[in-house]
C-alpha cells in the first residue's frame, strides 16, 4: 500500500525516458509506456488487496514540498476507497487503450511521442486521484490538462486539431481559475491545503458560510471545465480531433471524470454548502439535457459519442448534486467501461473505413466486422440502461438518488433524458452496424486482434461491472465500499421499471425510425425545423463564444494594445520627449547671431539679478 505513489512515478519516468530517448528505443519506446501503466495496474491490485485487508485510509507518501515562512505545502498520496477505485479505472482503461493504440497508431509519425504523452497524461491522472492535498491535486489537474492538450493536438498539422487542443486547454483553464481561487479561499479560511484538514475545519464550522459557498462553487467551476459541464462543455466534442484511442481514454473514461471525482473528493464541502450543491445539480441537469439532445442530431460518429459523454457527465453531476457520491462514482465506473468501449469500437470502425466518421455513409458493418459490432452493441445497450448491463445498475442508482435528494421536477427531466439516451444510442447502433450496407462500407474489414482484444475485455467489463453494486455474500456492495458502509444497495421498483421502460421505448423508437423507417427523419426535421437547427448548431454556444472572443476579448486586447502604443507611448512618452525637443528648437532662435542682442541679454541679465536682489530676496529671505 505504501507503494501506491509508484504508480504515477513510473509513468512520469516513462514520459521522461520515452520523450527524450524514445526514438533510439525499439518500438519508439512504446513498450516502456505500456510497462509503466501495466505496473500501475499491478499496483492497483496490490493496493486494493491491502485496502480490503486493512479497511482504513492511509497515506502512501507525504513530504514537504515548499516551506516558506509560516506556510508549508506538503505533498502526499492518500489511499481510500475513492482513490482506489479511480486508480483501478484509470490504470485499467489506460492499459487497454495503450495496447489498442499499438495497432491503431501503427505507422504514424511521432509514434514514440504519442506514447510519451500518454504516459504523461496517465501519470498526471494517477497523481490527481491519489492526491491528499489541494495543491497537489491542482498540480495534477493542470498536468492532466497539458496531457490532453498534447494528445488532442497530436496531429497538430491539422488546423482543426491545433484549434481543438487550444480550445480544450483554454476552456478548462477558465474553470481552473475558479478552482485555484477556490483553493486559495479555503486556504485563507483554514490555513491549510491538506484536504483532511480543510474538511475538518469546514465540518467544525470554522469557515464562514458565505465564503464557503463561494469557494465551493469556484471549486465546482474547475470541475465544470474538466468534466465538460455547461457552459464549459464546448471543448469536448471538438476534442474528438485527437486520435480515437485518446478520445477513449481522455474523453470517455478518465480526464472528463476528473471533475466528477473532484466533486466527490471535495464532497464534505458540498455537504456543508447546500446552495453550492444545488448549483451542481442544476448545472448537471442542464448539461445532461443539452448533451442528450445534441447527440440526437449529430452525424459524426465520434461527436455523437462525445455529446453522449457530455450528457452522462451531466447525469453524474446531477447525482452528486442530489447528494449521492456512490451513485455518481458507480456511474463513472460503468460509463468508463462502456464509453471507452464505444470509442475504441468507433476507432475500429474508422480504421476500417479509412477514417470516415460520417455515420450517414455507414451501414451494415455488422457483417464486415462482427466483433466490433457485437462489442459496440454491448456498450450502447449498457449506456442506454438496458438490464442487466452495467449502465442499467448505475443509472438506476442515480435516478434513485435524484428521487431521494431533489424535487420531482428533476426526476421527470432526468427520465426524459434517459429516453433520449436510449434513442441516440439506438440511432447510432442501427445506422452504423445494421440496415443496408453502404457503398463506402464495401471494403471494410475487421481490425487486428491487438485492437479487438481490448474491445472484448472492455465489453466483458461493461457487461458485468454492474453487479458490483449488489450485496452478495461477504461482499458488501459498491455503495458500502465507497462510503465505508454507509450506503447499502437499494431499489425502488417503480423507478427501475419506469427507467427500463423508457430505455426500451427509446430503443424501439430508434428501431422504428432507423431500421424500419416507419418514421421519416426528413419529416421530423421538417416539422421541428427550428429545433433541429438549434441542435445542429449546438445551441449556438460555439457561436456565442466565438462572438465573445472576437468582439469582446480580442477587441479589448486590441484596444489595450492600441492604447498602449498611441496614448501611453506616442502621446505620453514620445509626446513628452517631443515637447522637450521642440522647446529646444524654439529656444535656439534666441541665439540670433547679433552682437547687440547678446549684449542686451547680458545687460538685462545683470539688471534682473540686481532687481531680484533688491526686490525679491528681502521678501523671501
Amino acid at each position: 500500500m505504501e507503494l501506491a505513489w509508484l504508480a504515477p512515478a513510473l509513468n512520469f519516468a516513462a514520459f521522461g525516458v520515452v520523450s527524450l530517448f524514445g526514438k533510439y528505443l525499439p518500438g519508439k519506446g512504446s513498450f516502456l509506456s505500456i510497462l509503466a501503466i501495466f505496473g500501475g495496474f499491478i499496483l492497483f491490485g496490490v493496493v486494493l488487496a491491502d485496502y480490503l485487508g486493512q479497511k482504513e485510509d492511509t497515506l502512501s507518501f507525504s513530504r514537504t514540498w515548499v516551506e516558506l515562512g509560516v506556510a508549508r505545502i506538503t505533498w502526499g498520496m492518500i489511499i481510500d476507497p475513492l482513490s482506489v477505485i479511480m486508480l483501478g479505472i484509470v490504470s485499467f482503461v489506460a492499459l487497454l487503450v495503450q495496447v489498442y493504440s499499438l495497432g491503431y497508431m501503427a505507422g504514424q509519425e511521432r509514434f514514440g511521442w504519442y506514447f510519451a504523452a500518454h504516459s504523461l497524461f496517465v501519470a498526471a491522472m494517477l497523481t490527481l486521484v491519489l492526491a491528499d492535498n489541494l495543491i497537489l491535486l491542482y498540480i495534477a489537474w493542470e498536468l492532466v490538462g497539458l496531457g490532453s492538450y498534447l494528445l488532442i493536438g497530436f496531429w497538430y498539422e491539422r488546423p482543426s486539431a491545433a484549434e481543438a487542443a487550444k480550445k480544450a486547454f483554454v476552456t478548462t483553464r477558465i474553470g481552473d481559475v475558479g478552482l485555484l481561487i477556490g483553493i486559495l479561499m479555503l486556504f485563507k479560511a483554514t490555513g491549510t491545503f491538506e484536504m483532511a484538514g480543510v474538511f475538518a475545519a469546514v465540518e467544525a464550522g470554522h469557515v464562514a458560510p458565505g465564503a464557503l459557498t463561494w469557494a465551493t462553487i469556484l471549486i465546482f467551476a474547475g470541475a465544470m471545465g474538466k468534466s465538460a459541464q455547461f457552459p464549459l462543455h464546448v471543448w469536448l466534442p471538438d476534442a474528438m480531433e485527437g486520435p480515437t484511442p485518446v478520445s477513449a481514454l481522455i474523453h470517455a473514461a478518465t480526464m472528463v471524470a476528473a471533475g466528477v471525482f473532484l466533486v466527490a473528493r471535495a464532497f464534505p464541502l458540498f455537504e456543508a454548502a447546500p446552495d453550492a450543491r444545488m448549483v451542481v445539480a442544476v448545472i448537471g441537469l442542464i448539461t445532461a439535457g443539452m448533451g442528450a439532445t445534441m447527440a440526437l442530431v449529430m452525424t459524426d460518429l465520434k461527436r455523437v459519442l462525445a455529446y453522449s459523454t457530455v450528457s452522462h457527465l451531466g447525469f453524474m453531476m446531477l447525482a452528486l448534486g442530489a447528494g449521492s457520491v456512490p451513485a455518481a462514482i458507480f456511474h463513472l465506473l460503468a460509463h468508463a467501461f462502456s464509453k471507452a468501449l464505444l470509442f475504441l469500437g468507433a476507432g475500429s470502425v474508422m480504421h476500417a473505413m479509412h477514417d470516415e466518421t460520417d455515420i450517414r455513409k455507414m451501414g451494415g458493418l455488422r457483417k464486415k466486422m462482427p466483433i466490433t459490432a457485437l462489442t459496440f452493441t454491448i456498450g450502447a445497450l449498457s449506456l442506454a440502461g438496458i438490464p442487466p448491463l452495467s449502465g442499467f445498475f448505475s443509472k438506476d442508482e442515480m435516478l434513485l438518488a435524484v428521487f431521494d435528494g431533489l424535487s420531482p421536477a428533476f426526476l421527470v427531466l432526468a427520465l426524459v433524458i434517459v429516453l433520449f439516451s436510449a434513442l441516440y444510442m439506438a440511432r447510432l447502433l442501427f445506422t452504423v452496424f445494421y440496415g443496408a450496407s453502404s457503398p463506402e462500407a464495401e471494403h471494410a474489414h475487421e481490425s487486428p486482434s491487438v485492437m479487438t482484444l481490448p474491445l472484448i475485455i472492455l465489453a466483458a467489463g461493461a457487461a458485468v461491472v454492474g453487479f458490483l453494486a449488489l450485496e452478495v455474500g461477504g461482499y458488501e456492495g459498491f455503495g458500502n465500499f465507497i462510503t465505508s458502509g454507509h450506503h447499502g444497495f437499494e431499489v425502488n421498483l417503480l423507478l427501475t421499471v419506469a427507467a427500463v421502460v423508457l430505455a426500451l421505448v427509446g430503443f424501439g423508437l430508434g428501431y422504428a425510425i432507423y431500421v424500419r423507417k416507419a418514421l421519416s427523419t426528413q419529416a421530423l426535421m421538417g416539422q421541428f425545423g427550428w429545433v433541429h437547427k438549434l441542435l445542429v448548431n449546438k445551441y449556438y454556444m460555439d457561436h456565442a463564444y466565438q462572438w465573445a472572443i472576437d468582439r469582446i476579448v480580442l477587441v479589448f486586447a486590441s484596444f489595450i494594445g492600441a492604447f498602449d502604443r498611441i496614448v501611453v507611448n506616442d502621446m505620453g512618452v514620445n509626446g513628452t520627449a517631443e515637447t522637450v525637443k521642440r522647446s529646444g528648437f524654439r529656444i535656439r532662435y534666441l541665439e540670433s547671431g547679433m552682437v547687440y542682442n547678446y549684449a542686451l541679454a547680458m545687460a538685462l541679465g545683470a539688471a534682473a539679478v540686481a532687481l531680484f536682489w533688491w526686490l525679491v530676496i528681502p521678501r523671501i529671505g
Binding site: 535656439r588 532662435y589 541665439e591 540670433s592 547671431g593 547679433m594 552682437v595 547687440y596 549684449a599 545687460a603
Partner: protein, 102 residues
C-alpha cells in the same frame, strides 16, 4: 558743492550712454567706442570714490590707471581684429556678423 553723489550720477549716466551705444550702434568701431565710454564711466566712479571717501586716496586712482591701460590695449587688439574682419568681409557692420547663429 560737488559731492560723491554727483560724481556717481555722472558716472552712471556715462555708463548708460555707453550701454545705449553698445546696444544701438551697428558699426563695430562705434560699439567699441561705446564700450570705452563705459570704461571711462568706471574710471570716473573710481577716481570720485578715491577722492571723496578713500583715506589712502590712492587705490581708486591706481585701479583707474590700470583700467585705462587695459582699455587701451583692448581697443588696440579689437581694432586689429575688426580690421581683419573688414579686409575679409568688406564691412564692419555687426548686423552682417551672422554667419553663425542658432
Amino acid at each position: 558743492m560737488i559731492t560723491l553723489v554727483h560724481v556717481q550720477v555722472l558716472s552712471a549716466g556715462l555708463f548708460c550712454i555707453g550701454l545705449y551705444g553698445v546696444l544701438a550702434r551697428r558699426n563695430a568701431v562705434l560699439v567699441l567706442l561705446a564700450i570705452e565710454l563705459m570704461l571711462n564711466a568706471v574710471n570716473v566712479n573710481l577716481v570720485g570714490i578715491a577722492a571723496f571717501v578713500d583715506h589712502s586716496k590712492f587705490l581708486g586712482q591706481i585701479i583707474a590707471v590700470f583700467v585705462i591701460t587695459v582699455a587701451a590695449a583692448e581697443v588696440g587688439l579689437a581694432l586689429a581684429i575688426i580690421l581683419r574682419l573688414y579686409r575679409n568681409k568688406g564691412t564692419t557692420n555687426v548686423d552682417q556678423l551672422n554667419l553663425m547663429k542658432w
